[in-house]
Subunit: 432 residues, 2 copies
């Protein structure tokens, strides 16, 4: 299968392989970001089907037909999203029929469902929607619970080809109701993939990679990779096995090894975001948080309140960008600012203490730094950020000097640093 | 070129065709969304190169080699992102060499740049970074202004193959500095493209599309498209011409037509973000802004302070998530909250007035709503959001009911609504 690199990953378990097709000119022209394929990849992996890759194709019939044919020749399962709408530029059904070498036929069941959808929404049925009841000969239609466009499945070459609408909600419903159950039952997709994530803050990707180079070179059912995303490094461990227990045990064995090598820089583990981990940790301890932000300008508060249910633990946020706002909102003495500068341990501490005392929070964190592009000095160059936490009567301050890789980078790194610090401090204070 | 659908867009200019490759297991496994390809598609189109499609490929050497070979056989230009890191699972350079049928060689210029990057950041050079100085024989290295991984370009079959790092900032810098100029000069992509953007808030994408269907169907050198992004619709007008003046004049002519059709829902025009337009507008008027946020939880403050130079106009932000925080931080009377609920005109008004009076701001805006997933009632379902502005002694309140398409959607829409409202109110109050 992979003659030229001796890479036999996956061979022992012979997982079915899948390819994804994201269809539409709006995707190839870059006017829409494809979020369907990442979602589908995770869902398919959850039933043991490994996604080898995907393609984005426009609405051109010839290119689309070729893409479907190629994908079905290369994979056991091909899942396409998009191009099932009622307008002229929606050509997935035509391309699938051409790739399968069959005609399109009117599917009366699909048509009745389309009529029903319009009746339910009190609308007339535009004539163009009749197109949506066409399926390739030999295909089975998949009803759409959330819209007019039915999907369908058909065998093309060695592959099972599934066509679904591009609207995420419609596609997701159809996947859960029709695609995954079929793959589980009919295709014998009996393997399971267990994934585990270990998130690191601090090391460079290259250094981290060297520390686990041997794990990343492992062959077979276990794969270890590293992803860098806005300063957070994620080590991903994925294990394919016949039964969940085996996959989980092997993933845990590798995770234990990863923990040994990165003990000092691990911030958290699992699929949830760092902010969600902080929210959970606060909730478990019955604590409420206040944040005081200067250079990050609300980004930390926003990251925390992005988490559903964060109102249980998020008390208040102060965005004190201007110096006078630091005094007015947080009670930072003006002479502290004058003497030490806004970017200093003293101001960070006063901000955190002010945030705690002026809200109902039991834990407060502050950030004050130079995000750039301007405002840097020799003594405090762009990227210099002071932090403080105040918790159970103790205030702690520390400084970080982030590389000056742009304003957004410094802001993002400062938020991650604050979130990691909260987590670290809370874990030293176990739930009561 | 497209015999079967009669679509002749682009045919008169015989545009070069491009394919994109997004590389990395984190993409095929669905753990990272590929935003590089949409960005690249728009940039390539801006120099007259049409993107036919793209593919996502994992880190498997054989699959990656085949994907590069196939893409280079099908297109004039192939742009790959990712897989250039220093770790074992980064295999783009090896795959490109295999696809080109050549070996890898050490590139001393690249290596010196990598050494320089580490020296500049005061760090030792990990041995694994030496991998990053390897390029296929016959390739030209492209220096990386923002990181260690150089890119490269090489002819493979009929295609120009470009390999760039996956980190968006590094990739964008390299595209602008090396890829686009080369394509313009060498590949005969000689036209200039003038683009103009008109941003709309309110209409549904399908309805907006119908209003300018005739413009969107235009053939030849002028292309009009609509992009929806978190509730903001952008009409993009792109004109290709031999000289900039002609392109600009034609784009302005079409923009005037677009303005006629969308007069009521246009929020702003141009390439800058809505937040940047607000910052400029405040600066021109010498005003300072305070924001008071409940359901958006700091997102509005963050969007505004993301703009470089926003410290000129951004005074303070209050994230008053909890009811007691609304009272403590902003002076919202507790009985106002009890009587009308936190999501009400009265509370929104008191929040905006409190934000103005407790900061040094001359303009204040507030947001309080139900972002979900929980917290909705029959009377105030998820998506209900109240807003207020206070400016020159007048407080104005209004309500929006956004579709319940998830917490992130409601929060984003609420921020856009607030930004658009600030802009509208400021424009009614011209600079003095």
């Amino acid at each position: 299968m992979r003659p030229d690199d001796g890479d036999e990953r996956g061979a022992p378990v012979a997982s079915p392989r899948a390819r994804l097709l994201a269809i539409g000119d709006e995707l190839t022209h870059g006017h829409l970001v494809d979020t369907n394929s990442p979602w589908l990849a995770r869902e398919l992996e959850s039933v043991g089907i490994v996604v080898d890759g995907g393609a984005t194709v426009g609405d051109d019939l010839a290119l689309l037909t070729a893409a479907i044919r190629d994908a079905c020749a290369a994979a056991d399962v091909v899942v396409a999203t998009g191009g099932l709408g009622p307008t002229e530029d929606d050509r997935t059904r035509h391309a699938a029929a051409a790739a399968a070498g069959v005609d399109l036929v009117h599917d009366e069941v699909s048509w009745q469902q389309i009529l029903g959808w319009f009746a339910q929404h009190g609308r007339d049925v535009p004539e163009s929607n009749r197109r949506q009841a066409l399926v390739p000969v030999g295909a089975f239609a998949m009803p759409n619970a959330f819209g007019t466009a039915p999907g369908f499945r058909i065998r093309i070459g060695r592959g099972w080809f599934f066509a679904m609408p591009g609207v995420p909600r419609e596609m997701r419903g159809m996947t859960e109701t029709f695609v995954l159950p079929l793959l589980r039952d009919v295709l014998g997709a009996t393997g399971v993939v267990h994934s585990h994530w270990v998130h690191l803050l601090g090391p460079r990707e290259a250094d981290a990679g060297e520390r686990i180079a041997d794990l990343m070179r492992m062959r077979g059912a276990t794969r270890v990779g590293i992803t860098a995303h806005n300063g957070l490094l994620t080590v991903r461990i994925a294990v394919v096995a016949d039964v969940p227990e085996v996959a989980r045990a092997e993933a845990e064995r590798v995770a234990a090894e990863v923990r040994l090598r990165f003990a000092d820089v691990i911030v958290h583990e699992g699929q949830q975001t760092l902010a969600a981990a902080v929210v959970d940790c606060l909730r478990e301890r019955g604590l409420r948080l206040a944040v005081a932000e200067s250079c990050t300008g609300g980004r930390l508060a926003s990251a925390l309140t992005d988490v559903g249910g964060s109102s249980d633990v998020f008390d208040a946020g102060f965005v004190t960008y201007a110096n006078h706002a630091k005094s007015a909102l947080l009670g930072v003495p003006t002479d502290t600012i004058e003497r030490h500068g806004a970017v200093s341990a003293e101001v960070a501490a006063a901000m955190a203490e002010g945030a705690a005392s002026r809200s109902g929070a039991t834990f407060a964190v502050s950030i004050t730094g130079v995000a750039g592009p301007s405002g840097g000095t020799d003594e405090k160059p762009v990227g210099t950020v002071w932090f403080a936490t105040t918790f159970r009567g103790a205030t702690r301050t520390w400084k970080r000097r982030f590389p000056d890789l742009g304003r957004a980078f410094v802001r993002e790194r400062a938020c991650l640093e604050a979130l990691a610090a909260i987590l670290r401090e809370l874990r030293a204070d176990p739930p009561r």
